[in-house]
Amino acid sequence: MSELVAIEVSHAFPGTRVLESVSLTVEAGQLVCLIGPSGCGKTTLLRVIAGLDRLQRGRVLVEGKVVADADARRHTSPEKRGIGLMFQDYALFPHLNVFENVVYGVARSGERATWAREALARMGLEGYADAYPHTLSGGEQQRVALLRALAPAPKVLLLDEPFSDLDITRRAQIREETFDLLKETGVATLMVTHDPEEAMFMADHILVMAGGRIVQAGPPLKTYLEPVDAFVAALFGPVNRLEGTVAGGRVATPLGSLAADGIPDGTRVQVLIRPEALQLDPAPDGVAGDTELSVDWARLLGRTSLVRLRMRSRATGAEVLLHARVYGTFLPATGTAVSVRLDRDRAFVFPAADN
């Protein structure tokens, strides 16, 4: 059953359109990630769904019941929607201790309070029940805020950048704990993030937002491997950009030719190639034909090596810089000639922006 449905929600602040006809659905037990650059309207969408901002256009349904309908001037106040919301800054009440924070939305004794106690214990926070929020670390505060939002057993949970305030070293672990807890409770979750890795990790379904619209919706794998446009491709990681023209349904690049499905011949296109799509081999003669490829520099970044390549056209002398990411340690000396194999699953062709 669809626990949360938003239909053609639009929202504007004086002078700015923030949301343009956004529709989405979150099923019970499903985790949907809303990803987009800062300022694309993600947080506003959460606030409108929660009822903290009044819906200007569209409809919102929770458990099949309309909680907001702009046309019918219906607006259920946030406290009656049964939606949990976890804020980016956690918004823990500083005058209440950890336990009081968690049970704010439920009776202090009773089934949910018992749940809260057990959940605190399971998250390793039983010793902190009487502690005040400011004495906790960022990760502990995050867990308290999550439990507080879950305590009233909401059918729908909204998470606003739940991991962005965390120390990078703790983030992966807390992300995993959060994932497990959400899957266990089976709550329909809509999470906002600007971190693609976070979205790929957490989501069953990813919604990419730009300029107040949803530009792509789909499972993580499809979003990563089949971005609908250059913006989505670039959002999910760095890319090398080349240009070309479609001929015979394909576009030729110095690194090889790529299929340009559905783009008419003669169209100018941009070719986006992920750094990991460039597979390097030392080769005395570089790429065959017109192009010379040599190593400009190489750096070890830990798990991977980053290699900057200098690609030079023998005919015109024009030079382009490319970045390649190679798993493990791969540090050829500057000037080394290399040959490149292109992983075509990670290279994308889109009509050029000026078409």
Binding site: R47, A50, L52
Partner: protein
């Protein structure tokens, strides 16, 4: 986040427009604003009412004199409070010398002494028959006023000196807070760019503090315009004194209202200066890095000069008046019947508590109403409701007493016509009228305090409380109120103490024969019977010390980074 959206998403939570409770907020705020603005509007209405060329008469006779005196008084006090306030703030913030830590808070103490009380005290000890001149005569063998020259305390210069002594803390407090809030980085940059410590202070720290100093001087001058007791006693004919003269002695309400209108022009200029400075203040923080301010150790002669400079205003503005009052109080217990004093103190307590309770309640109501996102009209209404803080008590008194009298007369006539009963004066000269006057003048104080404290509760707290099932009132009770407890108490104390000190409105609006500590002090001291009313004056000063303590705590806390350990709002 992009600025536009950051602003948008951090906008305060908006509540449902449906339901009676929400409408009550909007309507209530508008009604309060109307009530609070009514006296000022009434003054304007009265001023344009036709009268027998009172205005021409005023303009020919007293107006030039009132204007000259008022401007001279403002200029003198303005220069005085600027020099003393900025100078002492500079010394205690930037230099190290013996007693600095004590001076830092003690310099606020004179704020506890109302201008009229310090005027009574100094007149008492400096007049011909007083102890100082007596001692001088004894010492030098003079026998009559012809033998020597002694400054006349009851003069314009005397009034300037008195008011400077008790009003400079406004400038001191704001300038010191501004110096403390400054990032040390900008001072260090100035040092690194080759300017010495003192020049850095003059070219960086002082200009950065300028908006705060302007606010301090504006507030001090608003108090100057408000003063009635001092100018009345010293026979310095400022507008305030003039309003009473024209109103009560010449029996011309529209004349008094016209003078009041002229005075409002001066007030508007001060408000404009203050607003301008407050806007500037926002742009004066360039970095967020703070460290202990550098301090310069003073020794020997400079240290002695610094101690003298800081001690003088405290001794003259607080220690001497308090000591004299304590001395008289000990001697006076025989003169004043304790029962009288108790009655007056209880009267003051009742009135001030009522005003404090109402002002805090209404202030909280308005501040939370604005936070619930009631729109621009409500925001504007709260501004209107706050105008009273700048309007002198004498002006407000006219604005309250005359409309009330007309209302009473209208009701009386109506009841007489319809039911044949005379209701007499229902509201005029009642405690309700005095409380109303206090509210008009001091609501801004409680609203401002509560509003500032509410702003420190991050909007996501509201959101969290609401999504966890609290309705707006529930969130207020369970989240905001507990977090704001201290500030709400502070707001109540501020209004309580200011109501207790208030003289010009109380004199006019109080019920017949109803004495508060302030009016009692006025009655006796202006008849040169300071000994008799010393306990009452001392009680007012003692109460006045409370807000000084609050203020000094607030300044210490104002320094960023020394605030509580709570998570910074995102």
């Amino acid at each position: 986040m992009r600025p536009a959206l950051a602003r948008a998403t951090s906008a305060l939570p908006k509540a449902s427009r449906a339901g009676l409770a929400i409408d009550a907020w909007g309507i209530g705020t508008l009604a309060v604003a109307g009530l609070m603005a009514a006296p000022v509007l009434a003054v304007f209405t009265l001023a344009i009412a036709p009268s027998d060329d009172i205005w021409g008469h005023l303009a020919r006779t007293v107006l030039p004199h009132y204007t000259r005196t008022t401007l001279a008084l403002m200029l003198g006090v303005g220069v005085g409070v600027f020099a003393v306030g900025t100078g002492t703030a500079w010394l205690v913030t930037m230099c190290r010398f013996p007693g600095r830590a004590v001076f830092a808070w003690a310099l606020l103490l004179p704020l506890a002494v109302p201008a009229y009380i310090i005027a009574y005290v100094y007149t008492d000890i400096l007049e011909y028959a007083g102890p100082v001149q007596g001692a001088l005569r004894g010492l030098f063998g003079w026998s009559s006023p012809k033998d020597y020259w002694f400054p006349e305390i009851r003069s314009l210069t005397g009034a300037i000196a008195m008011m400077t002594l008790v009003l400079y803390p406004y400038v001191y407090a704001l300038a010191r807070a501004a110096f403390l809030e400054q990032s040390v980085c900008v001072l260090e940059v100035s040092r690194l760019l080759g300017r010495g410590p003192w020049r850095s202070f003059a070219s960086v720290a002082l200009p950065l503090a300028r908006p705060a100093i302007v606010i301090g001087v504006s507030l001090a001058l608003m108090e100057t315009l408000n003063d009635f007791g001092t100018v009345d006693y010293f026979a310095v004919y400022t507008f305030t004194a003039g309003i009473y003269d024209v109103w009560l002695n010449m029996n011309s309400t529209s004349g008094a209202a016209q003078l009041a209108t002229v005075m409002l022009v001066l007030v508007l200029a001060l408000i404009a200066a203050e607003r301008w400075a407050r806007r500037r203040l926002r742009f004066h923080h360039t970095t967020n890095r703070y460290r202990q301010l550098p301090t310069y150790r003073l020794d020997r002669v400079p240290a002695a000069l610094a101690v003298t400079a800081c001690a003088t205003p405290i001794v003259l503005g607080f220690v001497v008046p308090s000591a004299v009052l304590i001395d008289y109080s000990i001697g006076a217990s025989a003169n004043t019947p304790v029962a009288d004093f108790t009655v007056y103190a209880l009267n003051s307590l009742t009135l001030s508590s009522m005003a404090a309770l109402l002002a805090t309640g209404i202030g909280l109501f308005m501040a939370y109403g604005v936070r619930l996102g009631r729109g621009r009209a409500v925001r504007a209404a709260t501004r209107l409701a706050s105008v009273g803080y700048a309007v002198p008590g004498a002006v407000l008194a006219i604005g309250v007493v005359i409309p009330l009298a007309r209302l009473d007369n209208a009701v009386d006539a109506f009841m007489g016509d319809v039911f044949g009963v005379s209701t007499g004066l229902l509201l005029s000269g009642t405690l309700a009228a005095v409380t109303y006057g206090y509210l008009v003048r001091f609501l801004a104080l409680s609203f401002g305090t509560v509003d500032a404290s509410l702003a420190k509760v991050t909007p996501s707290m509201d959101g969290a409380a609401r999504t966890l099932g609290s309705a707006p009132l529930g969130a207020l009770r369970r989240v905001h109120l507990p977090l704001m407890r201290g500030s709400i108490l502070a707001a109540a104390i501020l209004v309580f103490v200011d109501s207790m000190k208030e003289l010009p409105m109380t004199l006019i609006l109080r019920p017949f024969n109803f004495e508060t500590l302030a009016t009692y002090v006025y009655q006796f001291a202006s008849r040169e019977l300071l000994e008799q009313c010393a306990p009452a004056a001392l009680a007012i000063v003692a109460a006045g010390v409370l807000p000084v303590i609050l203020l000094s705590m607030a300044i210490t806390r104002s320094r960023p980074g020394q605030w509580e350990g709570r998570r910074a709002p995102a």
